[in-house]
């Protein structure tokens, strides 16, 4: 049944295929059973790639250590984040420093002059780079999306021509997709590229907004509509172009005045008959949609390590204050509510790290693994966790944190962008949930149809299984026990994960039974599905990492076990609560009311309650 997932077609192939295909290989002997739930569970848990936790070689580790030290030194000595924030620009000497460190070409292969580092090391470097939001965004816009198109879909000539200068930072790249009328909607891209009469150039006309590095970029990946003939019918399709500012006709608008990441340059770009040689088309003409999707999907994974790096820094900054500041003859650190904040920050950092490096490790596997689903989950989890942690860190300092004398308000402002860019969290939740649903649906369709037809045997089987589960029969996915992959200290947590996964399987089935393909429109349902998936993935990552840490005896691995167990316990209850909400007629489910409230408010475009001081007589 697993092979079914290979049949996904068209654009959804990009979304689905790889993630699910993988577990077909990672399937373990004792688990091969015909129950289709297990396939579903398997895809989240029992991938050979998840257990054991990915490791890097010793030489690579050395390389990281050599690389990290100077970057850390540079960021602590030479980067004045407060000044960058205040003056809303990154000073040229800072930029030059970054270039000298090679940070503009971390992932560009060495033959094109880059550092040629893996995703894992890229993620590691991002922990440090993220200490300054403006620099992080500038670099990400340059290499995570700006030049990614050339890197993944460009031909040899294009790579030879552009990558060396981009790697050295001589040229800065930008990614131009968003337009005034479109965010994720490709259909509303209005920028158009028309072939010139001699057939040697495309003329690009239109405007793009919110382009990071838009003001200083020399090379841009621009997406525009082109006329393509498909089966004799002329159709508009999106194509990707490498556009140099030197081609002329490009004007950039005033830099946007933003809440955070103020040092990064974001502006509008307009293209007026910009002549782009035909050899600058990335991939083939009309194939821009897939390129855009792949670039976006691959750019997200590093946010987990960025947020973790930021939180680790915040813990250092705030713990000093909490331990020295006295209230009522006690230091702040003795108060439970302050302790809770630090525990939460540590937990979040730990989970983000685990997820981020698990994902980057999977991406570094040979072949071209598609980890877009995992990356999306990491992005959603870490951007939201990061926001909470930053605001709690500020809270520890109280009023002091609110002033510009401390960096916390800047962190809060910078951090607010995370749930917004690189795909808003709402949209990514849709992606996560629908990808899962599509996969599960492929497997379960036949069974559900049988059930709807009234297959009694199947129904009885279902009921008895539910009964057994409700009577407390344990679910065994082989995580623990004799051949288990999880360390015995984490057995309870692993059991919880197994229970969650099992319940999730039946929840997904009942959702598919109820909504079928119209589940696309049930956003509140999908949101919970996505949240459960994210937490299941987080539990998996944490268990895998902690198991490895114990096994090889890393320093403070007992603390990791503590964190892992705490997180799994917490996530277990959250998942159960969400899945109860997903049941039909569940009293915990307020969806109908929520929709109604929103409808009435939106119809009136105002808060419509009468003022409490109003009276009728």
């Amino acid at each position: 049944s697993v092979s079914l997932c290979n049949t996904s077609q068209g654009c959804s192939a990009g979304f689905v295929s790889k993630v699910w295909k993988r577990d077909a290989h990672g399937y373990q002997q004792p688990l091969q059973c015909c129950d289709c739930f297990k396939d579903l569970r398997a895809c989240f848990v029992l991938q050979a790639e998840v257990f054991p936790y990915p490791e890097i070689g010793n030489d690579e580790l050395e390389e990281i250590k050599q690389l990290v030290a100077p970057v850390e030194k540079f960021f602590s000595d030479d980067v004045d984040s407060a000044k960058i924030d205040r003056e809303a620009t990154i000073p040229p000497e800072t930029l030059q420093g970054l270039k000298d460190l090679g940070l503009f070409g971390i992932m560009i292969p060495e033959e094109y002059g880059g550092l040629g580092l893996s995703n894992t090391i890229y993620a590691r470097l991002n922990e440090i780079i993220a200490l300054d939001g403006s620099i992080a965004v500038t670099l990400a816009a340059h290499q995570a999306i700006g030049l990614k198109g050339i890197l993944i879909a460009g031909n040899e000539a294009q790579k030879q021509k552009y990558l060396p200068k981009l790697a050295s930072g001589e040229h800065i790249a930008a990614f131009c997709l968003t337009e005034p009328g479109s965010g994720s909607d490709a259909a509303s891209i209005q920028t158009r590229a028309t072939l010139s009469e001699d057939g040697k150039h495309y003329l690009i006309n239109g405007s793009k907004i919110w382009i990071s590095n838009g003001g200083m970029a020399d090379i841009m990946t621009v997406f525009a509509r082109t006329e393509v003939e498909v089966d004799g019918v002329k159709k508009d399709k999106i194509s990707a172009f490498i556009v140099e500012r030197a081609f002329g006709g490009i004007t950039s608008g005033k830099p946007e005045d933003k809440l955070g990441i103020r040092g990064s340059n974001t502006c509008e770009l307009s293209f007026d008959n910009v002549p782009v040689p035909v050899e600058n088309v990335i991939g083939e003409i009309g194939g821009g949609f897939k390129i855009a999707m792949n670039i976006l999907n691959s750019g997200r994974f590093s946010m987990g390590s960025s947020c973790a790096g930021m939180i680790k820094k915040l813990i250092e900054l705030t713990s000093e204050y909490a331990t020295t500041r006295k209230q009522f003859n006690k230091s702040l650190s003795e108060f439970g509510m302050i302790q809770e904040k630090f525990a939460m920050m540590a937990l979040n950092a730990f989970v983000m790290e685990s997820m981020a490096y698990l994902t980057s490790g999977m991406m570094d596997r040979p072949g071209i693994p598609d980890c877009s689903l995992e990356a999306a989950m990491v992005k959603v989890f870490s951007s939201e966790g990061g926001w909470i942690c930053v605001s709690e860190a500020l809270q520890v300092l109280g009023g002091l944190g609110y002033t510009k004398n401390y960096p916390f308000e800047r962190f809060v402002r910078d951090c607010r962008i995370l749930p917004i860019f690189e795909g808003t969290n709402e949209i990514l939740r849709m992606y996560i949930a629908l990808t899962g649903m599509q996969y599960a649906g492929k497997i379960l369709t036949g069974k559900i149809k049988e059930m709807k037809k009234g297959n009694i045997g199947l129904a009885i089987g279902m009921v008895s299984k539910k009964l057994r589960a409700s009577l407390g029969a344990s679910v065994d996915l082989g995580l623990t026990g004799k051949d288990g992959v999880v360390h015995p200290s984490l057995e309870d947590s692993a059991k919880k994960l197994e229970q969650n996964v099992s319940l999730f399987g039946s929840t997904v089935e009942s959702l598919l039974y109820r909504y079928g393909k119209t589940i696309v429109d049930e956003q509140l349902v999908l949101k919970r599905v996505a949240d459960v998936l994210i937490h299941i993935y987080a539990m998996t990552a944490v268990l895998s990492r902690a198991s490895r840490s114990i096994s090889i005896g890393l320093r403070n691995h007992d603390h990791e076990v503590l964190l892992a167990n705490t997180f799994c316990n917490d996530a277990f209850f959250k998942n159960n609560y969400w899945m109860v909400q997903l049941q039909k007629h569940s009293p915990e489910n307020n969806d109908a009311n929520i929709k109604k409230i929103a409808k009435q408010v939106l119809e009136n475009r105002a808060y419509i309650c009468s003022h409490p001081l109003e009276r009728t007589y």
């Binding site: 996904s8 077609q9 068209g10 654009c11 959804s12 979304f15 997709l177 994720s184 909607d185 490709a186 259909a187 399709k237 999106i238 949609f289 855009a292 999707m293 976006l296 795909g423 949209i427 990514l428 849709m430 992606y431 629908l434 990808t435 649903m437 599509q438 649906g441 492929k442 369709t445 559900i448 149809k449 709807k452 598919l512 039974y513 109820r514 909504y515 079928g516 393909k517 119209t518 589940i519 696309v520 039909k584 475009r605 009468s610 009728t616 007589y617």
Partner: protein, 472 residues
Amino acid sequence: MKGSRCLHQLKSLRLLSHAGRLLPPAAGDNGALFRPRSSSQLGGLQCAQREVLRHFHSSPACTKGQPARFVQEEDKTRDKSLVTHDDLFEQVAKEAKTKATFNKVIDVYTKGDIRRRGHVEFIYAALKKMPEFGVEKDLTVYNKLLDVFPKEVFVPRNFIQRMFNHYPRQQECGVQVLEQMENYGIMPNIETKVLLVQIFGEKTHPMRKYQRIMYWFPKFKHVNPFPIPEQLPEDPVDLARFSLTRMANDWDAKVTVYQLPCTDVTESGAEVTLPHIVGIQSPGQMEALAKHNPDRPVFVEGPFPLWMRKTCVYYYVLRADPTPPEEKIEEPYDPERCLSYPLQLDLDLDRDLGDDESFDVEDLDEGPVFAMCMTSQGDQATLNQWISGLQESNPILGQIPTLFRLGAGPRELQGVGDADSASRSWFPSHVQREEAHPGEEAEAVVEEAEAVVEEAEAVVEEEPRRSQGVKQ
């Protein structure tokens, strides 16, 4: 507790308000009249306050003797014969039917006879006359009317009286006053309650009525989600703007004034009055119109009535027939539409019946309405002006044949005063229409839509026919 506190407050309030009211009427009356009245009212209240249990009548003894003189001076016809109370109002009404005169009649009556003989009849008569005096929506007048009842006489004093209908005629009359208030949507206030308690006592029929009103009225006060202001705008353009917005009920709908009403003098010296044309269209309607199949005609229909309280206005719509099922094309699913997630799932599973909530009795396909307008002159020429105005923002209208299906104006809705103008024109009564347009009147087209649809192209220019509905 709370009630008694209110009662107490109210009494002192009334004292004040009476004291405040002393001066204005005194200006018109002579001094002799002024003194006893004020003292009687003040005295009466004080008595009621202090000696609630002792006195049945609210009027204290000191006022006795005064009313006789008052009646002689004030109203000579009244004591001569068995005048009905209607006549009393009629006599006063000869001067002017206002609140002041109405109050005067009540005053005359209450001062006239210490025993308030025939007060039930008087109150009934007064209730009937209230709309004529334009005081049917005035709470103070109702309270004043209730004040006519003698106080404490009808309050049951033992359980037998309480058990049976004590003073049924009086109670019924009291209920009638409240009923009329209810019909006019007047909410009683605490003063009404105090009066009712003083007159009838707790737990009597009028009190029950009062309580019921006070229970329901606040609940119904804001029950209308689309309230109409008490005062409608006077200016026809403003009125049209208001009513169109109200009908469209779309925040994005844009009102356009295609023509302001104005009067021009042509070279030949004839006065030409241009009617106002006010239209409304929302972006959604523009979009729907842009997608309309140009081979299928659109219709200008009207006039349709719209009642705004007591005003009726008329509007016209631009609409089309519902799209036949064979022309409805669903936009094909484009997998390269959304950059972030699949907009459709590739699944062969439909929604379960138990969760299918798509059934909707209101979901009837009546054909789209593309725009609405209001004008003071609903002939084809004027409406054509509207359509050409619309065409500026909806260029597709240039390709779509436009048919005018104008019905006869609803004559039966016209006011009495407009009877003769109504016989001349079919225009709605509120429309100010000059007589200078016999030609246009002939142009007024009432086309039977069915007959016209077939010859779609020709219709716009079609020779206007005069329908049988044009003239009476």
